[in-house]
Every structure is written in structure tokens, then in C-alpha cells.
């Protein structure tokens, strides 16, 4: 039952915490050991990310020579590294593929999961529970299990090594969690909504489309973000299904690049390539961190 409130207001605070803690010097000193521990972990994380960033602005000589030193010539070396990664190493192509595959997968997943979740949660019919369990079962299936049969299947339907095939695959494997998430969300909405719609002479389709969908927007948005984060970083299935360079997504492209690095050891460009995959996630997270935290941890809240 808590699901909907969490989705609607992910950043909900405990009422008692709403007024800011008064920070007296005594309290500050009392909390000092805790700040030190928190600070250490935060410093580790920030250091790792900054170190990655500074590496992408160094030359190869600097990377090998002085791992702790700051980049000597950041703009020139940075430009060289990023253009090597973006153009020469085709990260631009992978980037476009990732955006394409991820966004289309997310839209289709949510578009076909929402009606199914609505029916499963709001309309009683025979076999409803069974179908619900059928979807839940998908949560436990490791992708490793289906590698070979999935490959064969996509060869048979002629979608192997295509972005369409990968998109279809992502939709298929994302459906179980999306349905579970949305079912929980729809269940928590009050039943008066449909009754009011029925009294006003709305058809069942009208109730779904004109009453439920607008209210469900925050839930759909959370589901979309969750799937975006998951699909954007998916590597195993993409690596399995894609072989032509022009179709690869960012994670696959990055691993391919790492493989070429074995031979030309342009580590600086590799740092830049990792930055290219990290930065979009960083931006999305900074913009939507509350929603992402609510969405990703939602399944456990029940």
C-alpha cells in the first residue's frame, strides 16, 4: 500500500525531520567521528571519479609516469583523448545506438506493461493470480540461462545482430519487473475512481485511458526511469546479440575498445571512453536522484 505514496512523493521526509537540525557547536563536535567516517567513504568515491576524469585529460606518458599528478596539459591532451574515443574509436556511433535502443525499449516496455498491470490489479478475472505469478517468475531467471536459446531464436526470426532484435529482447526481459512495479502502483489507487467513471457513463477503455493513466503518470515515469537505468548499462545480452560495429551499444563498444587497447595501449583515450559512458548516467542521476532511488528500491519496499 505504501508503494503509491512512495512513487508520488519519493523524497517524503519524516514529519519530525522537516525542521532543519539546529547545528550547535557542541552537536557538531559530538558528531565529528561520524563525519570522519562518512567523509572517508565519500572521499573514496569522489576520488575515484575525479581520478578517472583527470586521467582522461592526461597524455599516455603522464598516466604511466605519475598516477597521482594533475594533468599537465589538460585542454590539449583532453581534446586529443576525447576525439580519439568519440571519433576514431566510434564511441559516437555506440552512443547513438544506445540512446536509440534504450529509449525505444523503455517506451515500448512501459506502453505494453501498463495495460497489463492495470488489468491484473484492477479487473478481477479467472486466472489473474496465475498470470501474476507467471510474470513474477521472470524476476528470478538469470539471463545466463537463456543465452543460447535466445541467440537461436533471434537467428530464426531474422533479428540477430540488429538493434531491433536487441530492443525486442530488452522489452521481453524488462516486462516482469515493470509489471510488478506498476501492479503495486495501480493497486494502491482508490477504487472510487472507477466507480465515479462508471457512474458518469465512461466505457472501460475510457476509464483506463482518461482516468487511470493521468493519475498513473508518476508510476509510469518511475518505471520508465528504472528501465532506462537498467537498459542503458546492459552488457551481457547486447554483447551476445550484436556483432557488427555499427550496431553496438556503449557497453559493448567500450569492451571492444578495451580489447583494441591490448594492442595500441592508448590508455588515455580509454579513460576518455569510460568518461563518455559514465557522464550521461551521472547527469541523469544528478537531475533525478530522488526518483531513481525511489524507483530502484521500490520493489523492496513491499
Amino acid at each position: 500500500m505504501d508503494t503509491a505514496t512512495q512513487v508520488v512523493t519519493p523524497a517524503r521526509q519524516h514529519p519530525l525531520e522537516q525542521d532543519r537540525p539546529r547545528l550547535t557547536p557542541g552537536r557538531l563536535i559530538g558528531n565529528l567521528p561520524y563525519y570522519v567516517v562518512l567523509g572517508l567513504w565519500a572521499a573514496l568515491t569522489i576520488f575515484i571519479l575525479l581520478w578517472l576524469f583527470s586521467g582522461s585529460l592526461k597524455s599516455n606518458v603522464e598516466i604511466f609516469g605519475s598516477p597521482w599528478a594533475l594533468p599537465k596539459n589538460p585542454s590539449a591532451d583532453g581534446a586529443k583523448n576525447y576525439s580519439a574515443a568519440w571519433t576514431t574509436a566510434h564511441m559516437s556511433i555506440y552512443f547513438v545506438n544506445s540512446v536509440l535502443v534504450t529509449s525505444v525499449s523503455v517506451v515500448i516496455t512501459v506502453a505494453i506493461s501498463a495495460p497489463a498491470a492495470y488489468v491484473l490489479s484492477r479487473i478481477p478475472f479467472r486466472g489473474s493470480t496465475l498470470i501474476n505469478y507467471y510474470f513474477i517468475a521472470g524476476m528470478g531467471l538469470p539471463f545466463q540461462l537463456i543465452l543460447v536459446p535466445l541467440y537461436v531464436l533471434l537467428v530464426q526470426i531474422g533479428l540477430i545482430d540488429t538493434r531491433a532484435g536487441l530492443t525486442l529482447t530488452y522489452v521481453g526481459v524488462s516486462i516482469p519487473f515493470t509489471i510488478i512495479l506498476l501492479t503495486g502502483f495501480f493497486r494502491s489507487l482508490p477504487s472510487e475512481l472507477e466507480e465515479a467513471g462508471a457512474v458518469d457513463g465512461c466505457s472501460e477503455l475510457g476509464i483506463f485511458w482518461r482516468i487511470m493513466m493521468p493519475i498513473a503518470t508518476p508510476g509510469l515515469f518511475t518505471a520508465a526511469i528504472f528501465n532506462f537505468v537498467m537498459i542503458w548499462q546492459e552488457f551481457l545480452l547486447a554483447q551476445l546479440l550484436l556483432s557488427s560495429d555499427g550496431n553496438k551499444t556503449l557497453p559493448v563498444g567500450l569492451m571492444g575498445l578495451r580489447q583494441t587497447m591490448q594492442y595500441n595501449s592508448n590508455w588515455a583515450a580509454m579513460f576518455a571512453a569510460v568518461m563518455i559512458i559514465v557522464v550521461p548516467s551521472f547527469i541523469v542521476f544528478v537531475a533525478l536522484s530522488n526518483r531513481i532511488m525511489a524507483g530502484l528500491t521500490l520493489g523492496a519496499g513491499k
Partner: protein, 288 residues
């Protein structure tokens, strides 16, 4: 309206996920290299083979070590940090978001970063140890001896914040008056944790541990990227082993039937692991 609303989701899910899962059981009974359509039926041959395959046992053990050791680290730290963030700390949201952040990053990227960090010739870890005069502690972090502990640390860094946020949500639901009462009675932080926080968040904790167990056994991209081009055989996990047999860790083997049998075993491990975890964490539900 039930049928048209359900049909698209059911159809795609069944075709892409459920059908291959069932087909996997069939494929696992064959010997097949994938180059020809000829598959040789060998019954339970693949399963018999894996029982006597030392790499299988190594992979299974390593997977268990990462799941259990990593889990202990993750939940220990998550409780520790949640206790700290319970206090009136400034920048609470910032710290929480920062700790959560790594889970959002693509696993391949995180793996690359840790591979850089652990690089012995130019990575910051070895450089740091040498700079502060602890050069004697410097190790081949991703060598056969240390690879699993090194990976476990990378795994803890990546996943801790996710479980921290789940636990904090559970702790937030405990009525504040409980903590106040405990404080009034002069209970130590430690006693408060054992007698209030832990029992009251138990249900959330169990769900979180189940989630962790399922995802721990499936971790792949982080490991494959950290250990690129391939971990030493002694550092294999189940996911790496399956990948190597099926598609090859860049040195193809193409034992497709065997790889699929390993996938079936992985599924069995996930189900069994969750069942055992459920069993040992069972207790009366506390209502409040």
C-alpha cells in the same frame, strides 16, 4: 478488455524470456558446438560432466564467496551508515545520494575504473602504498591469489548504497517514539540497534538480502570488465564460466550444451539460495 490489454506483454515476455528458459532445459541435454545444426543428445551427460569439472566447483565457490562475503560487507556497512545518517547530520541527502550513485553507473564502466585502480604499474592503489612507505604491502591485486577479495571490494563499493537506501526507508518507518523511549531508558546505541532497529526492520532486511542474493549470483559485467581480458581460472565465477563456455571470454570454446546446463544449475542455485535464506530468516511477524 482483459485479453487485448494483457496480450502484448504476455506474448513478448513468453517469446523472449519464458520460451528460451524452457528451451534451455532441452538444449542442456545436448552436445552442440553451434557451427552445424547437428546436436547430439547426451541425456544428463553435461550435468555429469560438470560434477567432475574442477572449474565448475571453483566457480561455484567463488560465486558463493562474493555473495556471502560481499553481502556481509554490504549489509554491515549499510547498517553502520544508516545508523550514522539517522543522527542529525548535515548533508544527509548528499551522502546518501553519493553512496547510491555507483549502482547507476554502467557495470562495464565501473569494472574499467576498478581495473585502473588495481593496475599495479600505474594504478593509484599501488602508487599510494609505495608513496606512504607501505610498498611491502603492494600486491598483484588482480592476480590469482587476490582476485576474489579485490572483486568483492569493488562489488561492495558498487552495491552498498543501494541497500543502504532500502534499509533507511525501513528504519524511517519505525515510530520515532521507540528510539526516544530507548534513549530515555538510557539504552546504548548498540542495544538500541539489537533490540529496536534490527527486529523492526527485519522484514525489509530479509527482502533486501533476497534481492542481493539474486543479483550477486548474476553479477557479470562488473567482473568481466575488472578482470579483462579474462580472470585466471581460479578467479572464475559461475557467470564468467558460462560466458566462457558459450561465447568464449575472447577465446571461444563453443560448448553450447554445457554452457546451458551450467545456466540451469545457476538458476537452481538462485532458487535454492533464496529458499535457504528464507528458511533461516523466518520468524514471527512483528506488528507495530
Amino acid at each position: 478488455m482483459v485479453v487485448p490489454f494483457l496480450f502484448p506483454a504476455l506474448a513478448v515476455y513468453t517469446l523472449i524470456f519464458v520460451y528460451p528458459a524452457f528451451d534451455a532445459v532441452r538444449v542442456s541435454l545436448f552436445q552442440w558446438n553451434g557451427f552445424t545444426t547437428r546436436m547430439t543428445y547426451i541425456g544428463f551427460g553435461n550435468y555429469r560432466h560438470l560434477l567432475s569439472d574442477p572449474t565448475f566447483w571453483v566457480s561455484l565457490r567463488n560465486t558463493a564467496v562474493i555473495a556471502i562475503g560481499g553481502g556481509a560487507g554490504i549489509f554491515g556497512l549499510a547498517f553502520f551508515f544508516s545508523a550514522i545518517l539517522q543522527r542529525e547530520i548535515r548533508g544527509k541527502k548528499f551522502f546518501r545520494a553519493l553512496m547510491f550513485f555507483p549502482i547507476v553507473l554502467p557495470g562495464v564502466g565501473v569494472g574499467m575504473i576498478w581495473q585502473f585502480v588495481y593496475n599495479r604499474s600505474w594504478g593509484p592503489l599501488s602508487a599510494f602504498l609505495n608513496a606512504v612507505g607501505l610498498g611491502s604491502l603492494d600486491q598483484t591485486w588482480l592476480g590469482p591469489k587476490l582476485i576474489i577479495p579485490s572483486l568483492t571490494i569493488a562489488v561492495i563499493w558498487t552495491y552498498m548504497g543501494f541497500y543502504l537506501v532500502i534499509l533507511m526507508a525501513g528504519i524511517d518507518k519505525i515510530p520515532k517514539s521507540y528510539f526516544e523511549a530507548a534513549k530515555m531508558d538510557g539504552a546504548s546505541d548498540w542495544r538500541t540497534f539489537w533490540l529496536i532497529t534490527l527486529p523492526m526492520t527485519w522484514d525489509v532486511l530479509v527482502v533486501a538480502m533476497v534481492l542481493w542474493l539474486i543479483s550477486a549470483m548474476k553479477i557479470f559485467d562488473l567482473i568481466v570488465a575488472t578482470t579483462f581480458p579474462s580472470p585466471p581460472r581460479s578467479g572464475f565465477t559461475m557467470t564468467i564460466f558460462i560466458w566462457e563456455r558459450a561465447v568464449g571470454a575472447y577465446t571461444p570454446v563453443f560448448e553450447l550444451g554445457y554452457a546451458t546446463a551450467l545456466g540451469v544449475v545457476l538458476l537452481v542455485c538462485v532458487v535454492a539460495g533464496v529458499a535457504v535464506l528464507r528458511l533461516i530468516t523466518r520468524r514471527e511477524r512483528i506488528e507495530y
